[in-house]
């Protein structure tokens, strides 16, 4: 038996695990969540059973945070802690494999604006997860802001759990051509009819959907009491005089997605423009390391799954299984990427948001770094790289380790933000856990290791 490790059990990781298992490879599928599915297919953690079924040669390790990846001779050693994240009894495990599939997905991006640090401001993903996972609405009157088709399911979920959605503010222009309405875009993003139905829900509830509009400020003393929305010009500068005040007790913001890059960087995969670079077999620049899903580009659940199928097959081939090129999945990847490119072009993030901030607006919430302090650090100390920028401004040094602010700070200052994603410790680990020896599971075929061939079709 040959082993591969797949990290992430969203659409991409599940497809990769299935594809590799189909070729007789032993698969260890690791995910931080309690159940399979990842972001999009998030399941109720407490409900019995699992919606998804994987082949029997896939070992699904749930509630398992991969906190480090270490290169070893002929492959990688994946270090995990298994058990509920805040529980006292996480167990250590270290699994070695000649091939890895990274499918760690992406998380949604929040842009800062005055008042975004008030209680009541949520990322769209967090609001969605609360609604889907626990049936909880983040507020009674909610404004949904940001950009992209993803605003709709968030608004629909909020309505579904009893919130009143005051307005959906889409910062980009209404799209034209074949992506003409957000419902159409969604239909392309995922084949799921459920999403189209959600859009119908919005219409029935007469939720205004305004394009070229953004939440540029949240007001309140203890928590959000109202927000200011404004019309935006093509570069996202607020149009003077267009401001409106809306009463709301919560705001959700989602401006696209940021890939979860730390494990890919730890495995030394090449990253360009913020995404992992892959070849036609989903192979990264690191031999034996494959990547699939949102790590390689934002394109929705179907594309993620197709990439996963290709990556799983290639990883199986890499460890020696006889594998025919998965041509159908490869074709789906190609067309999916074309769609994704069009979608991403329709929903860019424009630099006008820089001016939504005031001098005293917080840009890094963990370390409470304001825009003024950030620019002072940059101007007076003339720092040019992420490493020194973090150390002189404090931005990105706090608990979230730059996951929330890294891209925004890099964009404001004009440096490449990838450095913020360098987190050799990919998820927090207690000192006592770190001090402990973990049992190491070496690949069953360790003796024939050392094969450093790429996979080519």
């Amino acid at each position: 038996m040959r082993r591969i490790v797949v990290i992430g059990a969203g659409p991409a990781g599940m497809a990769a695990a299935s594809a590799a298992a189909l070729h007789g490879v032993e698969v260890v599928l690791v995910d931080a969540g309690a159940k399979l599915g990842g972001q999009y297919f998030r399941q109720d953690a407490l409900a019995p059973g699992d919606r998804f079924k994987l082949p029997s040669n896939v070992e699904h390790v749930a509630n398992a945070a991969v906190w480090a990846i270490e290169p070893v001779d002929g492959g990688h050693r994946v270090h995990l802690r298994v058990g509920p994240a805040d529980g006292p009894a996480r167990r250590g495990r270290a699994v070695e494999a000649r091939a890895l599939v990274l499918a760690t997905g992406a998380y949604d991006r929040a842009l800062p604006f005055p008042g975004w640090d008030l209680p009541g401001v949520y990322t769209a993903g967090a609001a969605q997860a609360l609604a889907k996972g626990q049936g909880v609405a983040v507020g009674d009157r909610v404004v949904v802001g940001g950009t992209g088709p993803f605003l709709l399911p968030v608004a629909a979920s909020l309505i579904g759990v009893g919130a009143r959605v005051v307005e959906v503010a889409e910062a980009n222009a209404a799209v034209t051509g074949w992506l003409v309405n957000p419902v159409g875009a969604l239909a392309g993003w995922s084949k799921s009819g459920e999403l189209v139905r959600h859009a119908g829900t919005l219409a029935r509830h007469r939720v205004p959907y305004r394009s070229r509009t953004a939440v540029i400020e949240a007001h309140g003393s203890e928590c959000v009491e109202s927000v200011t929305v404004a019309r935006l010009d093509a570069l996202w500068n607020p149009v003077p005089g267009s401001e409106r005040r809306l009463e709301a007790d919560a705001v959700t913001v989602g401006f696209g997605f940021t890939p979860q890059l730390e494990l890919a960087l730890a495995a030394r995969c090449r990253v360009e423009d913020g995404f992992v670079v892959v070849d036609a077999a989903q192979g990264t620049s690191a031999p034996g390391v494959f990547a699939a899903g949102e790590l390689t580009g934002i394109g929705g659940a179907d594309l993620a799954a197709s990439e996963g199928t290709v990556a799983g097959a290639a990883a199986a081939k890499f460890v020696g299984a006889a594998v025919e090129p998965p041509v159908r999945a490869m074709a789906r990847v190609r067309s999916g990427r074309r769609f994704a490119a069009a979608l991403n072009a329709a929903y860019p993030v424009r630099s006008g948001w820089h001016d939504w901030l005031r001098d005293d607006t917080i840009v890094c919430r963990c370390e409470e770094v304001t825009k003024r302090a950030l620019f002072r650090a940059v101007d007076e100390r003339d720092v040019g790289g992420v490493r020194s920028l973090k150390l002189v401004s404090g931005a990105g040094l706090g608990l979230c380790q730059g996951r929330v602010c890294g891209r925004n700070v890099a964009e404001l200052v004009g440096v490449d933000g990838t450095g913020f994603a360098k987190r050799p410790i990919a998820s927090p680990i207690r000192l006592a856990e770190l001090a402990e020896e973990e049992p190491v599971e070496t690949p069953v075929d360790a003796e024939e290791s050392g094969r450093a061939l790429g996979v080519e079709y």
Partner: protein
């Protein structure tokens, strides 16, 4: 800012050592250009800690330099404040003192001997009973045989310190140019340094300072005057911010042995300290692995173990981050500060190993004194370039 076409001195490397040299040279009235192939203060200086230690040094030339530097840091910060204002001069300087802990009687013996010798040369070192040590650091393990308190140990934030000195250089008419690699030197007819090759360009100058940190050996080869400076890898763990647990810099007595050793193998003994933001830094390992940056979990594990051994309360604390760098070391563990005997006008300031932050200001001053022909405060003899450990040809 105008770009400098010719300079009195070009300093290569904008780490803490290059910054300190440039600061001292510009204070002496020279027009200085500092170049760095990456972001200024983004090399080793951004990959270590900010201990300014006397405690870990036995009497000898390095301790002399450290004592001069320890005296110089607060003066320098004060003068930067006067010149540039509070914000730029903010370097998180904390003269908090250090506590060196002996875990058992075997460790206590050498520690007492070291402290005695340090006292003899004027370093303040106070022997403590276990009870006295725990009164100073209430969360310290009960499992100790004794400790020595060094009130002179201090701490600062290296990137803030380096960028503050570079700001002073700019304020005095110098320039700091990032993303600019020095590729070699040009010489005049008499064999004296006349300029630096930067890409396709040559910057004319009267002198060059090689302050390339762990890459000083590489640059010296490109310059045609090889010196022996090698990398010694170190890693640091950073915890989540905590309420006050650790007051001083606290480390185990075996750290001193690790610092002084030349072993290739991994050595770990924790130095534990809090930072201004409440995080606890746990450093650091020592390992000779070339410039290999690959993560080694075993190193982190041993750091964690030695920290928990010193402060058992840290066991449940989450580690947020790890980072590290490559200490520039010479085979005899002393920095190289001085002019190269092979080419007039080529100077080196490197090889400070695990103490470059602490030793920076005295290094800058010594180099400037030598270059300006002033009487140096510290005896330069042991740091000279043409000693066998450093200059391959001399070694034979």
């Amino acid at each position: 800012m105008s770009r400098i076409e010719t300079a009195d001195v070009v300093v290569i490397g904008a780490g803490i050592i290059g910054a300190a040299c440039a600061e001292a040279l510009s204070a002496a009235g020279m027009r200085v250009l500092v170049v760095d192939r990456g972001a200024p203060a983004g090399g080793t200086t951004a990959g270590g800690e900010g201990n300014v230690l006397l405690s870990d040094k036995a009497p000898g030339p390095e301790l002399d330099l450290a004592v001069a530097s320890r005296r110089r840091w607060p003066e320098l910060i004060e003068s930067l404040r006067a010149e540039l204002g509070d914000e730029v001069a903010r370097v998180e300087w904390e003269p908090k003192g250090g506590l060196v802990v002996a875990s058992d009687r075997d460790a206590m013996g050498p520690l007492s001997i070291l402290a005695e010798a340090q006292r003899a040369v004027g370093v303040e070192a106070v022997d403590l009973t276990p009870g006295e040590a725990r009164a100073m650091e209430p969360y310290l393990t009960e499992d100790i045989a004794g400790a020595v308190h060094y009130p002179g140990d201090a701490q600062l934030q290296p990137v803030l310190a380096a960028t503050a000195m570079l700001a002073a250089v700019r304020a005095r008419g110098g320039e700091v140019r990032g993303w600019t690699e020095a590729r070699g030197l040009v010489f005049d007819g008499s064999g004296r340094v006349a300029g630096v090759r930067i890409g396709d360009e040559t910057i004319g100058c009267g002198a060059v300072v090689n302050a390339c940190g762990p890459w000083a050996g590489h640059f010296s080869v490109a310059a045609g005057a090889p010196i022996e400076v090698l990398p010694r890898r170190g890693m640091v763990l950073v915890t989540a911010p905590l309420p006050h647990v650790v007051g001083r810099k606290v480390y185990a007595a075996d750290y001193v042995a690790a610092v002084a050793s030349s072993h290739v193998d991994l050595q770990v003994s924790a130095v534990v300290e809090s930072t201004a933001t409440g995080t606890v830094l746990i450093g650091s390992s020592r390992q000779r692995v070339g410039f290999d940056e690959a993560l080694q979990v075993e190193v982190l594990r041993r750091l964690a173990r030695s920290a928990v051994k010193l402060f058992p309360v840290l066991a449940g604390v989450p580690v947020m981050r790890t980072y590290g760098g490559f200490r520039p070391y010479t085979p005899d563990h002393l920095p190289v500060i001085g002019e190269d005997p092979r080419f007039a006008g080529l100077w080196h300031a490197s090889g400070h190993e695990g103490a470059g932050i602490g030793l920076a200001p005295a290094t800058g001053r010594l180099l400037a004194d030598l270059m300006c022909g002033r009487e140096p405060e510290v005896d330069p003899a042991r740091f000279r370039v043409d000693r066998p450990a450093v200059m391959a040809e001399v070694r034979t």
